[in-house]
Subunit: 288 residues, 2 copies
């Protein structure tokens, strides 16, 4: 097992425990809501965003525990967006990580409310940690000029003529901005100086975009079994994707150049960033 | 014009301005989202929750401006729940305050995302104010053991046998808990001592329950024109209501006793609470 695999496994386990602990027990009234919340979060997710958050905090010599509230909040928010994105009125997906999506299992109304509850719980966790600064980072990235903006334009772009500016807006907002928030929150917990925060922000935008372009590529080239969801669903839903706009070769080259620029930024930092570098490279070499 | 009418008009205007100012401009990308957010908030709402928040802060000698972030956040969150409650998979309402509901005007996907964006914006405003304590109050009241819990059980109760415990759970969580949060946030801004915070919490639970029971009564006895939404919609949707469980006479008596208990609690406080008293009485004497 490589050092990175060990690191990812260890942090994934840490996150799974933290997420289990932070969610109300299944029996808590209303039971169906708390069951659904746990179902949508405790589903074997890769925990990429929270692991990045923790890894960045560790780069500053901070213990993972100090970044746990930030990491948990980012993952809860991410899960909430998946629940809403899967709804019949949005992407209408039946499968997520190989399992029935929330609305298939719990009904549509409960799925809307489960997404709402997870979203609020993310801010609950940050409020409990006592940091308005971390809440501000998440709220800025999550809101109407962030993740939600990306989702609105993603839906609106379906079936439209490929457009380079539009796909960049969608990828930046729908995906990169939350990865950026995860990284910045880790840096804030670690006490990063302003210039390091800036460098890490740029780093995270680049790996966030690379990650989403790789996702588009995998959707087109992988199989249902490997992805845990229907491969080719982007094309079927007439989604605008990076390969659809620029072609597969340019997409693959863009993933490589963004990753190498991101790693170049890390090298400017007077810190041991080898784990961050490994994660950046892992993000674009994964199979699902 | 009575002193209360003047007070309510003045604070309503203050809130309308604050809400206008806190929302991104209509042209902000994605324009449809920001138009929808403004449409769902700037619609002539009565602003009961934020006015209570400000009135409580004023009871402690605090200027309205200091309570504005809390007041705005509570109202934004309230509006977000209305947008989601109106969705086809929930109450499937076409009208809200006499206007087409969000999903009727902007489509279902945009309505889900507009509700999400308003919810996140509420926490954004509180984070900008720098107070994790206020965020915690809102998150606790809003989440899976608060407003969302109330909505889950409200939907689940449709068509079921009237049940006194269940209707109290629904009313407490769907309505009273957010009125309680508004009052507590105003008290926190005002620097209330622990015992005053407790007294005001009880006060707000009572007026919150009275308010919701009165709402049930109005739905059964008023007209479409006066309500700005279809009268009798509770019965049509087989909603569980307080009058359906206890009968109309008991319901009216409960409204009176809760209000008088609430006013009794105010009288225990060594403050000038006459505006709070007037608001408590107004809440159950309104026609819509």
């Amino acid at each position: 097992m490589t050092e990175l695999s060990r690191y990812l496994n260890e942090k994934q386990a840490l996150m799974d425990t933290a997420l289990k602990d932070c969610l109300p027990a299944e029996g808590t009234r209303p039971a169906v809501l708390h069951q659904a919340m746990r179902y949508c979060v405790l589903n074997g997710g890769k925990r990429i965003r929270p692991i990045l958050c923790i890894a960045v905090a560790e780069t500053f010599g901070t213990r993972p525990k100090a970044a746990l509230a930030a990491a948990v909040a980012v993952e809860l928010f991410h899960c909430s967006t998946l629940v809403h994105d899967d709804l019949p009125c949005m992407d209408d997906d039946d499968l997520r990580r190989g399992m029935p999506t929330c609305h298939v299992k719990y009904g549509e109304a409960n799925a809307v409310l489960t997404g709402d509850a997870l979203m609020i719980h993310a801010f609950h966790i940050l409020a409990e940690s006592g940091s308005a600064r971390l809440s501000l980072e998440l709220a800025k990235a999550a809101g109407s000029m962030g993740v939600i903006a990306g989702q609105v334009e993603d839906l609106d772009a379906e079936g439209k003529k490929p457009n380079a500016g539009l796909i960049e807006f969608i990828h930046m907002n729908k995906t990169a901005i939350l990865i950026r928030a995860a990284v910045r929150m880790g840096a804030l917990v670690g006490g990063a100086a302003e210039d390091e925060l800036e460098t890490l922000s740029l780093f995270s935008e680049k790996i966030g975009l690379a990650f989403q372009i790789e996702d588009d590529i995998l959707d087109e080239t992988s199989t249902d079994e490997v992805l845990g969801k229907p491969a080719g669903s982007d094309a079927e839903q007439h989604k605008m994707t990076y390969p659809a706009v620029h072609g597969m070769d340019v997409a693959a080259e863009k993933v490589r150049s963004l990753t190498s620029e991101a790693v170049g930024l890390l090298n400017m930092m007077p810190r041991n960033t080898h784990i961050l570098r490994s994660i950046a490279e892992y993000l674009v070499s994964r199979r699902s």
